[in-house]
Protein backbone atom coordinates (compact mmCIF):
# COMPACT_ATOMS: atom_id res chain seq x y z
CA UNK A 1 0.00 0.00 0.00
CA UNK A 2 1.35 3.41 -0.94
CA UNK A 3 2.22 5.91 1.79
CA UNK A 4 -0.56 8.29 0.69
CA UNK A 5 -3.18 5.55 0.96
CA UNK A 6 -1.76 4.37 4.26
CA UNK A 7 -1.94 7.92 5.64
CA UNK A 8 -5.39 8.68 4.21
CA UNK A 9 -7.46 7.29 7.05
CA UNK A 10 -5.34 8.51 10.01
CA UNK A 11 -5.26 11.98 8.42
CA UNK A 12 -9.02 12.00 7.81
CA UNK A 13 -9.64 10.88 11.40
CA UNK A 14 -7.46 13.70 12.73
CA UNK A 15 -8.15 16.61 10.38
CA UNK A 16 -11.99 16.61 10.45
CA UNK A 17 -12.44 16.59 14.26
CA UNK A 18 -9.46 18.91 14.79
CA UNK A 19 -10.99 21.33 12.26
CA UNK A 20 -14.28 21.33 14.17
CA UNK A 21 -12.51 21.87 17.51
CA UNK A 22 -10.39 24.75 16.16
CA UNK A 23 -13.46 26.41 14.59
CA UNK A 24 -15.48 26.15 17.80
CA UNK A 25 -12.65 26.74 20.30
CA UNK A 26 -14.13 28.98 23.02
CA UNK A 27 -12.32 32.03 24.35
CA UNK A 28 -12.13 33.14 27.97
CA UNK A 29 -13.84 30.14 29.58
CA UNK A 30 -12.63 27.95 32.42
CA UNK A 31 -10.39 25.00 31.59
CA UNK A 32 -13.06 22.37 32.34
CA UNK A 33 -15.74 24.14 30.29
CA UNK A 34 -13.33 24.67 27.39
CA UNK A 35 -12.30 21.00 27.52
CA UNK A 36 -15.98 19.95 27.64
CA UNK A 37 -16.87 21.99 24.56
CA UNK A 38 -13.78 20.79 22.66
CA UNK A 39 -14.56 17.15 23.60
CA UNK A 40 -18.08 17.57 22.19
CA UNK A 41 -16.81 18.93 18.89
CA UNK A 42 -14.09 16.27 18.61
CA UNK A 43 -16.76 13.59 19.14
CA UNK A 44 -18.98 15.23 16.51
CA UNK A 45 -16.14 15.31 13.94
CA UNK A 46 -15.12 11.71 14.65
CA UNK A 47 -18.72 10.52 14.30
CA UNK A 48 -18.94 12.21 10.91
CA UNK A 49 -15.73 10.44 9.79
CA UNK A 50 -17.11 7.16 11.14
CA UNK A 51 -20.30 7.66 9.11
CA UNK A 52 -18.29 8.42 5.98
CA UNK A 53 -16.27 5.22 6.38
CA UNK A 54 -19.34 2.98 6.23
CA UNK A 55 -20.02 3.94 2.60
CA UNK A 56 -19.26 0.94 0.35
CA UNK A 57 -17.96 2.26 -2.95
CA UNK A 58 -15.33 0.34 -4.90
CA UNK A 59 -13.29 3.42 -5.87
CA UNK A 60 -13.49 4.99 -2.39
CA UNK A 61 -12.41 1.68 -0.84
CA UNK A 62 -9.50 1.43 -3.29
CA UNK A 63 -8.28 4.93 -2.41
CA UNK A 64 -8.59 4.41 1.32
CA UNK A 65 -6.75 1.08 1.37
CA UNK A 66 -9.65 -1.39 1.18
CA UNK A 67 -13.11 -1.92 2.59
CA UNK A 68 -11.88 -3.98 5.52
CA UNK A 69 -9.47 -1.20 6.51
CA UNK A 70 -12.27 1.37 6.18
CA UNK A 71 -14.48 -0.69 8.48
CA UNK A 72 -11.65 -1.07 10.99
CA UNK A 73 -11.30 2.73 11.10
CA UNK A 74 -15.09 3.09 11.16
CA UNK A 75 -15.01 1.14 14.45
CA UNK A 76 -12.00 3.00 15.83
CA UNK A 77 -13.33 6.47 15.09
CA UNK A 78 -16.76 5.46 16.43
CA UNK A 79 -15.33 4.27 19.76
CA UNK A 80 -12.99 7.28 20.16
CA UNK A 81 -15.96 9.59 19.34
CA UNK A 82 -17.94 7.80 22.05
CA UNK A 83 -15.15 8.41 24.59
CA UNK A 84 -15.04 12.12 23.70
CA UNK A 85 -18.83 12.40 23.93
CA UNK A 86 -18.83 10.68 27.35
CA UNK A 87 -16.27 13.24 28.54
CA UNK A 88 -18.34 16.17 27.18
CA UNK A 89 -21.13 16.30 29.85
CA UNK A 90 -18.79 15.22 32.65
CA UNK A 91 -16.39 18.11 31.96
CA UNK A 92 -19.27 20.61 31.74
CA UNK A 93 -20.52 19.33 35.10
CA UNK A 94 -17.00 19.45 36.57
CA UNK A 95 -16.90 23.15 35.66
CA UNK A 96 -19.56 23.88 38.29
CA UNK A 97 -18.22 21.47 40.93
CA UNK A 98 -15.78 23.93 42.53
CA UNK A 99 -18.64 26.33 43.12
CA UNK A 100 -21.17 23.81 44.30
CA UNK A 101 -21.65 20.02 43.90
CA UNK A 102 -25.38 20.77 43.50
CA UNK A 103 -24.63 23.05 40.56
CA UNK A 104 -22.44 20.33 39.00
CA UNK A 105 -25.21 17.75 39.37
CA UNK A 106 -27.83 20.11 37.95
CA UNK A 107 -25.71 20.45 34.81
CA UNK A 108 -26.05 16.66 34.39
CA UNK A 109 -29.55 15.96 35.75
CA UNK A 110 -31.99 15.91 32.85
CA UNK A 111 -35.04 16.33 35.15
CA UNK A 112 -34.95 20.13 35.24
CA UNK A 113 -33.86 20.55 31.63
CA UNK A 114 -35.61 20.81 28.27
CA UNK A 115 -35.12 19.49 24.73
CA UNK A 116 -31.72 21.08 24.03
CA UNK A 117 -30.27 18.99 26.89
CA UNK A 118 -32.64 16.01 26.56
CA UNK A 119 -31.65 15.55 22.91
CA UNK A 120 -27.98 15.40 23.99
CA UNK A 121 -28.76 12.77 26.61
CA UNK A 122 -30.91 10.83 24.14
CA UNK A 123 -28.06 10.83 21.60
CA UNK A 124 -25.60 9.58 24.24
CA UNK A 125 -27.94 6.83 25.49
CA UNK A 126 -28.68 5.70 21.91
CA UNK A 127 -24.94 5.68 21.16
CA UNK A 128 -24.36 3.62 24.30
CA UNK A 129 -27.14 1.14 23.40
CA UNK A 130 -25.98 0.94 19.79
CA UNK A 131 -22.40 0.18 20.80
CA UNK A 132 -23.58 -2.44 23.31
CA UNK A 133 -25.34 -4.18 20.42
CA UNK A 134 -22.30 -3.72 18.16
CA UNK A 135 -20.19 -5.71 20.60
CA UNK A 136 -22.79 -8.50 21.01
CA UNK A 137 -21.22 -11.01 18.67
CA UNK A 138 -23.79 -13.73 19.39
CA UNK A 139 -26.67 -11.69 18.02
CA UNK A 140 -27.91 -13.02 14.63
CA UNK A 141 -26.36 -10.98 11.81
CA UNK A 142 -29.67 -9.64 10.45
CA UNK A 143 -30.84 -8.31 13.83
CA UNK A 144 -27.35 -7.02 14.56
CA UNK A 145 -27.19 -5.13 11.25
CA UNK A 146 -30.50 -3.30 11.77
CA UNK A 147 -29.79 -2.48 15.40
CA UNK A 148 -26.28 -1.28 14.50
CA UNK A 149 -27.84 1.02 11.88
CA UNK A 150 -29.72 2.64 14.77
CA UNK A 151 -26.43 4.35 15.66
CA UNK A 152 -27.15 6.68 12.72
CA UNK A 153 -30.22 7.90 14.65
CA UNK A 154 -27.95 8.67 17.63
CA UNK A 155 -25.80 10.86 15.38
CA UNK A 156 -28.87 12.76 14.15
CA UNK A 157 -30.06 13.36 17.74
CA UNK A 158 -26.56 14.58 18.64
CA UNK A 159 -26.68 17.12 15.84
CA UNK A 160 -30.23 18.09 16.82
CA UNK A 161 -28.85 18.78 20.33
CA UNK A 162 -26.52 21.39 18.79
CA UNK A 163 -29.27 22.94 16.66
CA UNK A 164 -31.58 23.26 19.69
CA UNK A 165 -28.79 24.98 21.62
CA UNK A 166 -28.88 27.62 18.89
CA UNK A 167 -25.58 26.57 17.29
CA UNK A 168 -26.91 26.21 13.76
CA UNK A 169 -23.68 27.27 12.05
CA UNK A 170 -21.84 25.05 11.05
CA UNK A 171 -24.19 22.39 12.44
CA UNK A 172 -26.79 22.62 9.68
CA UNK A 173 -24.19 21.82 6.96
CA UNK A 174 -22.85 18.97 9.15
CA UNK A 175 -26.41 17.69 9.65
CA UNK A 176 -26.96 17.86 5.89
CA UNK A 177 -23.68 15.96 5.28
CA UNK A 178 -24.62 13.27 7.84
CA UNK A 179 -28.08 12.82 6.30
CA UNK A 180 -26.55 12.67 2.81
CA UNK A 181 -24.12 9.94 3.90
CA UNK A 182 -26.91 7.94 5.58
CA UNK A 183 -29.18 8.31 2.52
CA UNK A 184 -26.29 7.37 0.20
CA UNK A 185 -25.57 4.25 2.23
CA UNK A 186 -29.26 3.30 2.39
CA UNK A 187 -29.89 3.71 -1.33
CA UNK A 188 -26.60 2.57 -2.84
CA UNK A 189 -25.78 -0.26 -0.44
CA UNK A 190 -28.89 -1.41 1.44
CA UNK A 191 -31.31 -1.01 -1.50
CA UNK A 192 -28.61 -2.28 -3.88
CA UNK A 193 -28.38 0.59 -6.39
CA UNK A 194 -24.58 0.18 -6.40
CA UNK A 195 -24.88 -3.54 -7.14
CA UNK A 196 -25.14 -5.26 -10.53
CA UNK A 197 -27.75 -7.81 -11.58
CA UNK A 198 -26.64 -11.45 -11.80
CA UNK A 199 -28.44 -14.77 -11.93
CA UNK A 200 -27.49 -18.12 -10.38
CA UNK A 201 -26.26 -20.25 -13.27
CA UNK A 202 -25.29 -23.41 -11.41
CA UNK A 203 -24.74 -24.74 -7.92
CA UNK A 204 -22.16 -27.36 -6.98
CA UNK A 205 -21.64 -28.97 -3.57
CA UNK A 206 -17.94 -28.86 -2.73
CA UNK A 207 -18.12 -30.26 0.81
CA UNK A 208 -20.63 -31.01 3.53
CA UNK A 209 -22.29 -27.67 4.33
CA UNK A 210 -20.46 -25.81 1.55
CA UNK A 211 -21.53 -25.02 -2.01
CA UNK A 212 -20.00 -23.16 -4.91
CA UNK A 213 -22.43 -20.87 -6.74
CA UNK A 214 -21.80 -19.71 -10.33
CA UNK A 215 -23.25 -16.27 -11.04
CA UNK A 216 -23.83 -15.07 -14.60
CA UNK A 217 -24.03 -11.32 -15.24
CA UNK A 218 -27.27 -9.95 -16.68
CA UNK A 219 -25.60 -6.65 -17.57
CA UNK A 220 -21.99 -5.48 -17.44
CA UNK A 221 -19.95 -7.85 -15.32
CA UNK A 222 -17.81 -6.55 -12.51
CA UNK A 223 -14.03 -6.96 -12.43
CA UNK A 224 -12.60 -9.20 -9.75
CA UNK A 225 -9.19 -10.70 -9.00
CA UNK A 226 -8.29 -13.83 -7.01
CA UNK A 227 -8.17 -12.88 -3.33
CA UNK A 228 -10.98 -10.35 -3.63
CA UNK A 229 -14.49 -10.67 -2.27
CA UNK A 230 -17.89 -9.51 -3.44
CA UNK A 231 -21.07 -8.59 -1.58
CA UNK A 232 -23.98 -10.67 -2.80
CA UNK A 233 -27.69 -10.48 -2.02
CA UNK A 234 -29.81 -13.38 -3.27
CA UNK A 235 -33.39 -12.45 -4.11
CA UNK A 236 -36.45 -14.66 -4.43
CA UNK A 237 -36.62 -17.28 -7.21
CA UNK A 238 -39.14 -19.93 -8.27
CA UNK A 239 -38.52 -22.25 -5.31
CA UNK A 240 -36.24 -20.14 -3.21
CA UNK A 241 -36.81 -17.19 -0.91
CA UNK A 242 -33.61 -15.19 -0.56
CA UNK A 243 -32.61 -13.23 2.53
CA UNK A 244 -32.24 -10.14 0.33
CA UNK A 245 -29.35 -8.83 2.42
CA UNK A 246 -25.76 -8.40 1.27
CA UNK A 247 -23.16 -10.84 2.60
CA UNK A 248 -19.45 -10.96 1.75
CA UNK A 249 -18.18 -13.99 -0.17
CA UNK A 250 -14.69 -14.76 -1.46
CA UNK A 251 -14.47 -15.20 -5.20
CA UNK A 252 -13.44 -18.77 -6.11
CA UNK A 253 -13.03 -18.16 -9.84
CA UNK A 254 -13.63 -15.56 -12.52
CA UNK A 255 -14.35 -16.74 -16.05
CA UNK A 256 -13.59 -14.81 -19.21
CA UNK A 257 -17.30 -14.48 -20.00
CA UNK A 258 -17.86 -12.63 -16.71
CA UNK A 259 -19.24 -15.62 -14.76
CA UNK A 260 -17.94 -15.49 -11.24
CA UNK A 261 -18.06 -18.21 -8.66
CA UNK A 262 -18.23 -17.89 -4.89
CA UNK A 263 -17.82 -20.36 -2.05
CA UNK A 264 -20.68 -20.37 0.46
CA UNK A 265 -20.38 -22.21 3.77
CA UNK A 266 -23.41 -22.59 6.03
CA UNK A 267 -22.31 -20.39 8.93
CA UNK A 268 -25.51 -18.49 9.79
CA UNK A 269 -29.24 -18.43 9.08
CA UNK A 270 -28.89 -16.83 5.67
CA UNK A 271 -25.97 -18.93 4.42
CA UNK A 272 -27.73 -22.07 5.69
CA UNK A 273 -30.74 -21.14 3.58
CA UNK A 274 -28.44 -20.59 0.58
CA UNK A 275 -27.44 -24.27 0.66
CA UNK A 276 -30.77 -25.03 -1.07
CA UNK A 277 -30.44 -22.33 -3.73
CA UNK A 278 -31.24 -23.31 -7.29
CA UNK A 279 -30.26 -22.06 -10.76
CA UNK A 280 -32.37 -19.13 -11.92
CA UNK A 281 -32.43 -17.24 -8.62
CA UNK A 282 -31.68 -13.55 -9.24
CA UNK A 283 -28.91 -11.88 -7.27
CA UNK A 284 -27.31 -8.50 -6.88
CA UNK A 285 -23.53 -8.32 -6.66
CA UNK A 286 -21.41 -5.41 -5.46
CA UNK A 287 -17.63 -5.15 -5.59
CA UNK A 288 -15.08 -6.41 -5.94
CA UNK A 289 -13.31 -5.40 -2.77
CA UNK A 290 -10.08 -6.30 -1.01
CA UNK A 291 -6.44 -6.69 -1.94
CA UNK A 292 -5.59 -10.05 -0.38
CA UNK A 293 -3.11 -11.91 -2.68
CA UNK A 294 -2.54 -8.67 -4.61
CA UNK A 295 0.86 -7.07 -5.08
CA UNK A 296 4.09 -8.26 -6.71
CA UNK A 297 4.59 -12.06 -6.56
CA UNK A 298 7.11 -12.85 -3.81
CA UNK A 299 9.96 -15.30 -4.19
CA UNK A 300 8.19 -18.04 -2.25
CA UNK A 301 5.02 -18.20 -0.22
CA UNK A 302 3.31 -19.94 2.65
CA UNK A 303 -0.46 -20.05 2.44
CA UNK A 304 -2.41 -21.11 5.51
CA UNK A 305 -6.11 -21.78 4.92
CA UNK A 306 -8.67 -22.62 7.59
CA UNK A 307 -11.92 -24.21 6.32
CA UNK A 308 -13.72 -22.05 3.74
CA UNK A 309 -10.71 -19.70 3.97
CA UNK A 310 -9.19 -21.83 1.21
CA UNK A 311 -11.42 -20.07 -1.37
CA UNK A 312 -9.05 -17.18 -2.34
CA UNK A 313 -6.22 -19.66 -2.80
CA UNK A 314 -8.23 -21.94 -5.10
CA UNK A 315 -9.20 -18.85 -7.10
CA UNK A 316 -5.53 -18.01 -7.64
CA UNK A 317 -4.62 -21.62 -8.46
CA UNK A 318 -7.49 -21.89 -10.97
CA UNK A 319 -6.26 -18.67 -12.58
CA UNK A 320 -2.82 -20.32 -12.89
CA UNK A 321 -1.38 -17.53 -10.79
CA UNK A 322 1.58 -19.10 -8.99
CA UNK A 323 5.07 -18.75 -10.35
CA UNK A 324 7.10 -19.39 -7.20
CA UNK A 325 7.39 -22.23 -4.68
CA UNK A 326 4.27 -22.25 -2.55
CA UNK A 327 3.31 -24.35 0.45
CA UNK A 328 -0.44 -24.52 1.09
CA UNK A 329 -1.21 -25.65 4.63
CA UNK A 330 -4.92 -26.49 4.57
CA UNK A 331 -6.59 -26.98 7.97
CA UNK A 332 -10.14 -28.33 8.25
CA UNK A 333 -12.30 -29.94 10.91
CA UNK A 334 -13.11 -33.15 9.02
CA UNK A 335 -12.32 -34.33 5.51
CA UNK A 336 -16.05 -34.34 4.65
CA UNK A 337 -16.19 -30.61 5.45
CA UNK A 338 -13.02 -29.72 3.50
CA UNK A 339 -14.12 -27.62 0.54
CA UNK A 340 -12.36 -28.14 -2.82
CA UNK A 341 -10.15 -30.88 -1.32
CA UNK A 342 -10.20 -33.26 -4.31
CA UNK A 343 -9.58 -30.40 -6.75
CA UNK A 344 -6.70 -29.10 -4.62
CA UNK A 345 -5.08 -32.54 -4.56
CA UNK A 346 -5.37 -32.72 -8.36
CA UNK A 347 -3.95 -29.18 -8.73
CA UNK A 348 -1.05 -30.02 -6.39
CA UNK A 349 -0.25 -33.09 -8.48
CA UNK A 350 -0.06 -31.09 -11.71
CA UNK A 351 1.37 -27.77 -10.42
CA UNK A 352 5.16 -28.01 -9.99
CA UNK A 353 5.50 -25.10 -7.55
CA UNK A 354 2.66 -26.14 -5.25
CA UNK A 355 3.05 -28.31 -2.16
CA UNK A 356 -0.19 -29.20 -0.41
CA UNK A 357 -0.22 -30.16 3.27
CA UNK A 358 -3.66 -31.05 4.64
CA UNK A 359 -4.49 -31.40 8.33
CA UNK A 360 -7.73 -32.64 9.89
CA UNK A 361 -7.93 -30.67 13.12
CA UNK A 362 -11.25 -31.66 14.70
CA UNK A 363 -13.00 -29.01 16.75
CA UNK A 364 -9.90 -27.67 18.46
CA UNK A 365 -7.28 -25.24 17.23
CA UNK A 366 -4.32 -27.36 16.04
CA UNK A 367 -0.82 -27.27 17.50
CA UNK A 368 0.61 -24.59 15.21
CA UNK A 369 4.11 -24.90 16.66
CA UNK A 370 4.22 -28.45 15.32
CA UNK A 371 2.46 -27.75 12.02
CA UNK A 372 4.25 -24.63 10.79
CA UNK A 373 7.56 -25.07 8.99
CA UNK A 374 10.56 -24.14 11.12
CA UNK A 375 12.26 -20.77 10.79
CA UNK A 376 14.89 -22.15 8.43
CA UNK A 377 12.25 -23.57 6.01
CA UNK A 378 10.15 -20.41 6.16
CA UNK A 379 13.21 -18.39 5.14
CA UNK A 380 12.09 -15.29 3.31
CA UNK A 381 8.59 -16.52 2.44
CA UNK A 382 5.62 -14.20 2.41
CA UNK A 383 2.79 -15.67 4.46
CA UNK A 384 -0.87 -15.38 3.46
CA UNK A 385 -3.47 -16.35 6.07
CA UNK A 386 -7.18 -16.87 5.51
CA UNK A 387 -9.48 -18.54 7.99
CA UNK A 388 -11.51 -18.01 11.14
CA UNK A 389 -10.36 -14.99 13.23
CA UNK A 390 -9.16 -17.20 16.08
CA UNK A 391 -6.90 -19.15 13.69
CA UNK A 392 -5.45 -15.95 12.18
CA UNK A 393 -4.94 -14.54 15.69
CA UNK A 394 -3.00 -17.66 16.70
CA UNK A 395 -0.97 -17.82 13.48
CA UNK A 396 0.37 -14.26 13.60
CA UNK A 397 2.41 -14.61 16.84
CA UNK A 398 3.52 -18.13 15.84
CA UNK A 399 4.94 -16.77 12.56
CA UNK A 400 6.49 -13.73 14.26
CA UNK A 401 8.17 -16.14 16.68
CA UNK A 402 9.77 -17.80 13.66
CA UNK A 403 11.27 -14.49 12.59
CA UNK A 404 8.73 -13.52 9.91
CA UNK A 405 8.42 -9.73 9.77
CA UNK A 406 4.91 -8.29 10.25
CA UNK A 407 4.98 -6.70 6.77
CA UNK A 408 5.34 -10.20 5.28
CA UNK A 409 2.27 -11.59 7.06
CA UNK A 410 -0.83 -10.85 4.95
CA UNK A 411 -4.41 -11.49 6.00
CA UNK A 412 -7.91 -10.12 5.75
CA UNK A 413 -10.48 -10.86 8.41
CA UNK A 414 -13.59 -10.71 6.18
CA UNK A 415 -15.33 -9.60 9.36
CA UNK A 416 -18.01 -6.96 8.83
CA UNK A 417 -19.34 -6.69 12.36
Amino acid sequence: MSLIRWLSLPLLAMVVPAGFAVWAFPQGLSLARTAGIVAGWLGCGLLLVSLLLMVREVEVARWLGGLERMYRWHHRTGVVAYLALLAHPLLLAADGFAESPALAWQALAPVDESWPVWSGWLALILLMAGLTITFMRRLPYRAWRWLHAGLGVAVLFGLLHLVLLGIDEPVLPILAAAMLILAWRAMRDELGLAARPYIVESVRRVAAGTIEISLRPLATSLTAMPGQFVLVAFLTGANYRGCGEFHPFSVSSIDRNGVLRIGVKALGDCTRRMQSIQPGVPARVQGAFGSFLAGPPPASQLWVAGGIGVTPFIALLRAGGITSPTLLLYLYKTEAEAAFLAELRALAAETPFLTLQTVETGELLPDLERLLPDAHCLGCRDCYLCGPPELTAALKPALRKRGIAARRIHFENFDFR
Binding site: V79, Y82, L108
Partner: protein
Amino acid sequence: MMRNVYIAATAMFWAIVLAFWLSSAWMPQAGQPTGGPADRIISTTELARHASPASCWMAIRGDVYDLATYLPNHPSRPDIIEPWCGKDATWAYDTKTKGRPHSRTADELLAKYRIGKFSP
Protein backbone atom coordinates in the same frame (compact mmCIF):
# COMPACT_ATOMS: atom_id res chain seq x y z
CA MET B 1 -9.67 -4.51 22.67
CA MET B 2 -12.30 -1.97 21.49
CA ARG B 3 -14.91 -3.93 23.41
CA ASN B 4 -12.90 -3.72 26.63
CA VAL B 5 -12.33 0.04 26.13
CA TYR B 6 -16.09 0.47 25.62
CA ILE B 7 -17.03 -1.50 28.74
CA ALA B 8 -14.44 0.26 30.93
CA ALA B 9 -15.37 3.76 29.65
CA THR B 10 -19.11 3.17 30.04
CA ALA B 11 -18.70 1.84 33.58
CA MET B 12 -16.43 4.76 34.49
CA PHE B 13 -18.92 7.27 33.01
CA TRP B 14 -21.82 6.00 35.10
CA ALA B 15 -19.57 5.80 38.19
CA ILE B 16 -18.66 9.48 37.77
CA VAL B 17 -22.32 10.46 37.15
CA LEU B 18 -23.20 8.59 40.36
CA ALA B 19 -20.38 10.38 42.20
CA PHE B 20 -21.74 13.77 41.05
CA TRP B 21 -25.20 12.81 42.31
CA LEU B 22 -23.91 11.53 45.66
CA SER B 23 -21.76 14.62 46.24
CA SER B 24 -24.74 16.81 45.38
CA ALA B 25 -26.92 14.94 47.87
CA TRP B 26 -24.43 14.69 50.75
CA MET B 27 -21.98 17.56 50.54
CA PRO B 28 -22.82 20.96 52.09
CA GLN B 29 -24.36 23.40 49.64
CA ALA B 30 -21.40 25.79 49.81
CA GLY B 31 -21.20 28.55 47.29
CA GLN B 32 -24.91 28.63 46.48
CA PRO B 33 -25.92 31.89 44.86
CA THR B 34 -27.06 34.35 47.48
CA GLY B 35 -28.17 37.17 45.27
CA GLY B 36 -27.05 40.79 45.22
CA PRO B 37 -28.26 43.89 47.04
CA ALA B 38 -32.02 44.22 46.94
CA ASP B 39 -32.29 47.95 47.58
CA ARG B 40 -30.74 49.46 44.47
CA ILE B 41 -33.36 50.77 42.02
CA ILE B 42 -32.34 50.71 38.37
CA SER B 43 -34.34 52.69 35.83
CA THR B 44 -34.96 51.93 32.16
CA THR B 45 -32.55 54.73 31.23
CA GLU B 46 -29.73 53.35 33.36
CA LEU B 47 -30.42 49.83 32.10
CA ALA B 48 -30.21 51.01 28.49
CA ARG B 49 -26.68 52.37 29.11
CA HIS B 50 -25.48 48.76 29.55
CA ALA B 51 -26.43 47.39 26.16
CA SER B 52 -23.13 45.92 24.95
CA PRO B 53 -21.50 42.50 25.54
CA ALA B 54 -18.76 44.25 27.54
CA SER B 55 -21.32 45.84 29.86
CA CYS B 56 -24.47 43.78 29.63
CA TRP B 57 -27.34 44.33 32.09
CA MET B 58 -30.73 42.72 31.64
CA ALA B 59 -34.01 43.13 33.49
CA ILE B 60 -35.70 39.79 34.16
CA ARG B 61 -38.89 39.35 36.20
CA GLY B 62 -38.46 42.74 37.96
CA ASP B 63 -34.79 42.35 38.87
CA VAL B 64 -31.67 43.56 37.07
CA TYR B 65 -28.70 41.27 36.37
CA ASP B 66 -25.17 42.11 35.23
CA LEU B 67 -24.50 39.29 32.78
CA ALA B 68 -21.32 40.58 31.10
CA THR B 69 -19.10 37.95 32.74
CA TYR B 70 -21.64 35.20 32.07
CA LEU B 71 -22.17 35.81 28.34
CA PRO B 72 -19.21 33.65 27.15
CA ASN B 73 -20.64 30.70 29.13
CA HIS B 74 -24.12 30.87 27.60
CA PRO B 75 -24.65 27.73 25.49
CA SER B 76 -26.38 29.40 22.55
CA ARG B 77 -24.58 31.51 20.00
CA PRO B 78 -23.90 35.19 21.01
CA ASP B 79 -26.38 36.81 18.60
CA ILE B 80 -29.27 35.11 20.42
CA ILE B 81 -28.55 36.59 23.86
CA GLU B 82 -26.57 39.78 23.18
CA PRO B 83 -29.45 41.77 21.60
CA TRP B 84 -31.17 41.62 25.02
CA CYS B 85 -28.40 43.53 26.79
CA GLY B 86 -29.80 46.83 28.14
CA LYS B 87 -33.42 45.66 27.85
CA ASP B 88 -36.21 43.96 29.77
CA ALA B 89 -35.52 40.34 28.73
CA THR B 90 -38.25 38.67 30.82
CA TRP B 91 -40.13 37.34 27.80
CA ALA B 92 -36.93 36.01 26.19
CA TYR B 93 -35.85 34.38 29.48
CA ASP B 94 -39.25 32.80 30.12
CA THR B 95 -39.67 31.44 26.59
CA LYS B 96 -36.16 31.25 25.08
CA THR B 97 -38.11 32.90 22.21
CA LYS B 98 -39.49 29.41 21.43
CA GLY B 99 -42.01 28.88 24.21
CA ARG B 100 -39.62 26.97 26.48
CA PRO B 101 -38.68 28.22 29.96
CA HIS B 102 -35.14 28.13 31.35
CA SER B 103 -34.31 25.34 33.82
CA ARG B 104 -34.17 25.58 37.60
CA THR B 105 -30.38 25.45 37.30
CA ALA B 106 -30.49 28.56 35.14
CA ASP B 107 -32.70 30.33 37.72
CA GLU B 108 -30.20 29.54 40.47
CA LEU B 109 -27.30 30.63 38.32
CA LEU B 110 -29.06 33.87 37.38
CA ALA B 111 -29.52 34.87 41.01
CA LYS B 112 -25.76 35.10 41.37
CA TYR B 113 -25.63 38.03 38.92
CA ARG B 114 -28.43 40.14 40.48
CA ILE B 115 -27.51 43.79 41.05
CA GLY B 116 -30.82 45.48 41.87
CA LYS B 117 -34.56 46.07 41.36
CA PHE B 118 -35.92 47.20 38.01
CA SER B 119 -38.06 50.33 37.94
CA PRO B 120 -39.53 50.74 34.47
